[in-house]
Amino acid sequence: MSTTMKIENLQAKIGDKQILKGLNLELEPGKVHAIMGPNGAGKSTLSKAIVGHYDIEILGGDITYKGKSILEMEAEERALEGVFLSFQHPVEIPGVNNAYFLRTALNAKLKHEGKDELNAAEFLREMKKHLEMLGMKSDMISRSLNEGFSGGEKKRNEILQMLILEPEVIILDEIDSGLDIDALRAVSEGINKMKDGKRTFLVITHYSRILDYIEPDYIHVLKDGKVIKTAGPELVPYLEEHGYDGIEED
């Protein structure tokens, strides 16, 4: 099996509390991996550990991406290398124009890849195509980042970032929380557009409804800081019926 990212015996804590307790996970290129599990299992901690969030202290284990360890890399270096996280609770940043923010991020990545940066007009043309698909109003790009956005708008804006940055490993932390059906459909459409057989997705969710739209290849059940079971999508209806308590460890 070829691997895009390998997480081995990962142990991590937030504050004084150890949350990940020897987690193992391999992400295959081009596949959609769904992480499911009860509250407090460590799902969001895992996503933060992968991107290098400052909340997380790694106690042991390793995360390798394209064959090299990323634990010593800063969050922005990991982002430039193609690791993307859509936040469960995107922050509002008053005074930072959304379009400037997105263009700066994109141009930093293009520069890192040795490509030409986009000027404002080229960028707006690119962005407008995505806005239409996501059902976002054009004034959202000229407003401050996430300021006054509804929950659904914030999540659509996260997907807009993903579409623009074209990352290789895409971590979606509860992208479906707080979304109505229309927003869920638009967000799923954006995600499916990025599925090209090469990009890898790690979809963290409590509920199976987004998996009806995104169609995962693997389901990993996370409990008490470890992956206790990995199976195909057939596990989803079982979980719906029996809950996490009904899962036996692999």
């Binding site: 000027n119 404002a120 007009a121 000229s142």
Partner: protein, 140 residues
């Protein structure tokens, strides 16, 4: 691309920005692709007289086309030079002399320029048309 087509392309670009300040900022953005001139090309003959900041414009006739190169010192001059060289550069002198500069207003930015900057634009155009005349004479 003809002069008119290049102007239409920039009009489309500028129309993307509803806010006049964003249009002007786009001019600054264009200036990021600005090139510089070797020192020997910066002299009294190439100095754009009447420009609000120091700027130089070199015009050379090559294979029947007017090739333009320039350098500006302010952000606005860099942006405007990049824009105008893209519009008028590598065109025949006949194309340039047959073009009515009032059509530049189609881009929707000329009226946003301050009187001083409009004067700079006129100074630049005067040099371009001067180079085009010389180029035409050389070809005749």
């Amino acid at each position: 691309m003809t002069i008119e087509e290049t102007i239409a392309k920039y009009k489309e670009d500028f129309d993307l920005f509803p806010d006049p300040n964003d249009k002007l900022e786009y001019i600054f953005d264009l200036g990021k692709k600005h090139t510089t001139l070797p020192e020997e090309d910066k002299n009294d003959n190439t100095y754009v007289n009447g420009c609000a900041s120091d700027a130089w414009l070199v015009g050379e006739c090559k294979d029947g086309l007017l090739v333009l190169r320039g350098e500006g010192t302010s952000e606005m001059a860099k942006g405007m030079l990049t824009l105008l060289i893209d519009i008028f550069g590598n065109k025949t002198p006949e194309d340039i002399l047959g073009f009515d500069p009032a059509k530049l207003q189609d881009m929707g930015i000329v009226e946003l320029l301050s009187p001083v900057r409009q004067q700079s634009l006129e100074a630049f155009l005067k040099m371009v048309y001067g180079y085009a005349h010389k180029c035409k004479e050389q070809g005749a």
